[in-house]
């Protein structure tokens, strides 16, 4: 089993993806703009673009299930453990992708600017992080209420995409990975309107998401109302949309894995299973080495506790709808029927 397969398997294992009926046929593929893809930084630097949204849906769905069973809508408890998949209730009818109006995603605003995060320090301990992206990372921290995450997201975006929002890895290897991801997970997740396109997409965006997993972001919590079920994979190129997938993914990592320091977050970004069976492996160590080197190269001091606490926490996570709206400017409920 190669690392990508291990990653995919770990997503399903660690987050207890439930079995469902086979999804209805998906629509014809929409080709990604791979021919004009401007940057593939990982091909130059051997980067880790890690299927960012791979477990996002899984993590959030666990919270949703808790509410279904009568629990309150408290923010995620970071100490919660993954629920045993075997205890899941019988699968309901397969949900259908939420239709979106034409041009729906065009309504997502451009990059936020400093006033959008008034009071957030956009100067201290950012190193060489592009100034135009700092408000976005700050907004991610503020919306997710994961204190200190902004600069961690900056380090991750440097590694995953070289700060290029339209980074796209459509190499044979990567497309094979997205095909496997789609094939392995489609029976256990709601159908994707652009599933075949996602399978052929590879990965991309500011945080290097593997397309099928990205489009399944938040299905655990939102089920058929998850925001990307009817979206083409190119939505990953929209920085605010990619940002939502990234914060949701970080919540999963912080909530369901033992995170000993900031570098462990990056390890989880590459492959959650490395935080369990792979801890201490050569690959685990190398990813950590890379993370510290990336932070140093970027000029972000990970030990500056005035901007990055010693440990990050997702205990104050406000939930998918609030964070989605804060980041994308769109309200989930107004989009259900287009």
């Amino acid at each position: 089993m190669d690392e990508q397969e291990e990653f995919i398997e770990s997503v399903e294992r660690d987050f207890g993806v439930t079995r469902r009926e086979a999804p209805p046929p998906v629509s014809s593929a929409v080709r990604p703009p791979s021919a004009s893809s401007p940057r593939r930084p990982w091909l130059l630097a051997g980067g880790i673009a890690a299927g960012v949204a791979a477990v996002v849906g899984g993590a959030l769905y666990l919270r949703s299930r808790g509410r279904d069973e009568g629990e309150s809508e408290e923010p995620t408890d970071a100490s919660a453990k993954p629920t045993d998949a075997g205890s899941d209730p019988p699968a309901p009818e397969p949900p259908r992708p939420s239709p979106r109006p034409a041009g729906w995603w065009d309504r997502v605003p451009g990059l936020p600017e400093a006033p959008a995060v008034a009071g957030f320090d956009l100067k201290a301990n950012w190193g060489a992080t592009p100034t135009e992206l700092r408000p976005l990372f700050a907004l991610m921290e503020r919306a997710s209420q994961i204190e200190g995450s902004a600069r961690i997201f900056a380090v991750i975006a440097k590694r995953e995409a070289g700060f290029q929002a339209t980074a796209h890895n459509d190499s044979n290897w990567e497309v094979d990975a997205s095909r496997r991801a789609y094939k392995n997970a489609r029976d256990s997740n709601p159908p994707l309107k652009y599933g075949e396109a996602a399978a052929e997409f590879g990965s991309g965006g500011l945080f290097g998401a593997l397309a099928p997993y990205f489009l399944w972001t938040a299905v655990r919590e939102m089920k058929a109302k998850a925001p990307f079920l009817g979206a083409p994979p190119e939505v990953m190129f929209i920085p605010r949309v990619a940002a939502f997938g990234a914060v949701a993914y970080m919540v999963g990592i912080l909530s369901y894995y033992k995170i000993e320091d900031h570098a462990d977050i990056k390890v989880g970004w590459a492959s959650p299973s490395l935080l369990k069976s792979g801890r201490g492996s050569d690959t685990y160590k190398e990813i950590r080495t890379r993370f510290f080197a990336d932070a140093a190269e970027l000029g972000i001091d990970l030990e500056d506790t005035s901007t990055i606490p010693e440990s990050l926490s997702a205990k104050a996570w406000p939930g998918v709808p609030a964070v989605f709206e804060a980041l994308t400017g769109l309200a989930l409920e107004e989009t259900e029927e287009g």
């Binding site: 051997g46 980067g47 290097g208 690959t283 080197a293």
Partner: protein, 367 residues
């Protein structure tokens, strides 16, 4: 007085020598990975598995995880390469024992595996194989064999396998050692009359008196469950990966390097230098810190001296391994403030006074 470089604590010549492997910024992932890939490429080239490595590297470069798994992936490629030709059935035990001994050497002193010298009685099976099958055959039993239905089984049990050494004896003096009189116990069970000496940092050339091609370490075949050659490569590669490099006591490596330099310099310095005005086919030239065989085979041409013949391929490989160790050590020392906590912990635990000097927790008087 010229300022000493990062490695000046060990030798004033060492910084310049380390440049043979290339200087790089450890905190630049791109530079670090390019450097690492080059080390593996060189190793694969001399080992004859370059095609397998290139294929592995190409796949990694396409993947999202990139080169983070270079170490394990390259080792896996080498393991597969070595397993194409397994140990003979009658010698399967040899691969097992070799592996056990290498593991024992590594665990006995992880900081000093570049060049190991040990009493063979301190390692598994006394660095012999075949001993477990030794069984004296009684005369009476032999006499009873004819006509005995169980004779074939008895014969199988009683086959006397003569114990053999699992490694060659580097008796020295060689290019890696000048053995001092030793009080180490010798185990004559399979012919050892010297301590076991292996230069694992320069794998696959592990013996200082056998620097011809093919390299001896490449003949360490695998059996179904044990892979001594990949294990040896893992140990060697550790010296050009961060954690293994920082664990190593560089004083040991410096001592080995100085011996190597002292014994090879008289052979190399008289060589004509490259570029040559009129290059001659088959002639060995000195090109910086490397040897160059013009229109000839680096596996066959080389230099000869009182300690034996060194083919150009082996010479260059040994030079590269020393240089890689020091180049990485230098890069790590420069980046010491931004290393991961676990690497910093290893660095601080290193007993080398030169490291402590770099960390500012000791001062040394340079003679």
């Amino acid at each position: 007085m010229a300022l000493l470089g990062t490695l000046g604590c060990y030798s004033s010549e060492l910084d310049a020598f380390a440049d043979l492997a290339g200087d790089f910024d450890f905190l630049s992932t791109h530079e670090r990975e390019v450097w690492l890939a080059r080390q593996w490429s060189l190793m694969a080239e001399v080992g004859g598995w370059r095609a397998e490595f290139d294929e592995t590297l190409a796949k990694l470069q396409q993947s999202q995880v990139g080169l983070v798994s270079l170490y394990s992936s390259a080792l896996a490629a080498f393991t597969a390469f070595m397993r194409r030709e397994r140990e003979d059935t009658s010698r399967e035990e040899r691969a097992t024992t070799r592996t056990q001994v290498l593991l024992a050497l590594r665990s006995a002193n992880p900081a000093a595996t570049w060049r190991v010298e040990t009493d063979v009685s301190s390692v598994p099976s006394g660095a012999c194989y075949g001993r477990a099958k030794w069984k004296a055959m009684g005369v009476g039993k032999l006499a009873s064999q004819p006509g005995n239905q169980e004779a074939p089984q008895d014969q199988a049990d009683d086959v006397a396998v003569i114990p053999e050494r699992i490694f060659l004896a580097d008796e020295g003096p060689s290019y890696f050692w000048t053995p001092a009189p030793t009080t180490l116990l010798l185990d004559l069970g399979c012919g050892w009359n010297t301590p076991l000496r292996l230069s694992l940092g320069t794998y696959p050339w592990v013996y200082g008196d056998r620097l011809q091609a093919p390299a001896p370490g490449l003949s360490w075949r695998s059996n179904k469950t044990h892979d001594p050659a990949p294990l040896a490569l893992r140990i060697a590669a550790g010296f050009w990966h961060a954690e293994g490099n920082l664990k190593a006591d560089a004083r040991e490596v410096v001592a080995a390097w100085k011996h190597w330099r002292a014994t090879t310099a008289p052979l190399v310095e008289p060589l004509p230098t490259w570029p040559a005005a009129i290059p001659e086919a088959g002639v060995v030239y000195r090109e910086g810190e490397r040897l160059r065989v013009h229109a000839g085979d680096a596996a066959k041409a080389g230099v000869n001296g009182p300690r034996g013949f060194i083919c150009a391929a082996a010479y260059n490989h040994v030079q590269e391994r020393f240089a890689a160790f020091f180049a990485l050590r230098r890069a790590l020392l420069r980046a010491r403030k931004s290393l991961s906590p676990e690497l910093r912990k290893v660095l601080i635990a290193n007993p080398d006074p030169c490291v402590k000097q770099q960390l500012g927790i000791a001062s040394l008087q340079i003679a």
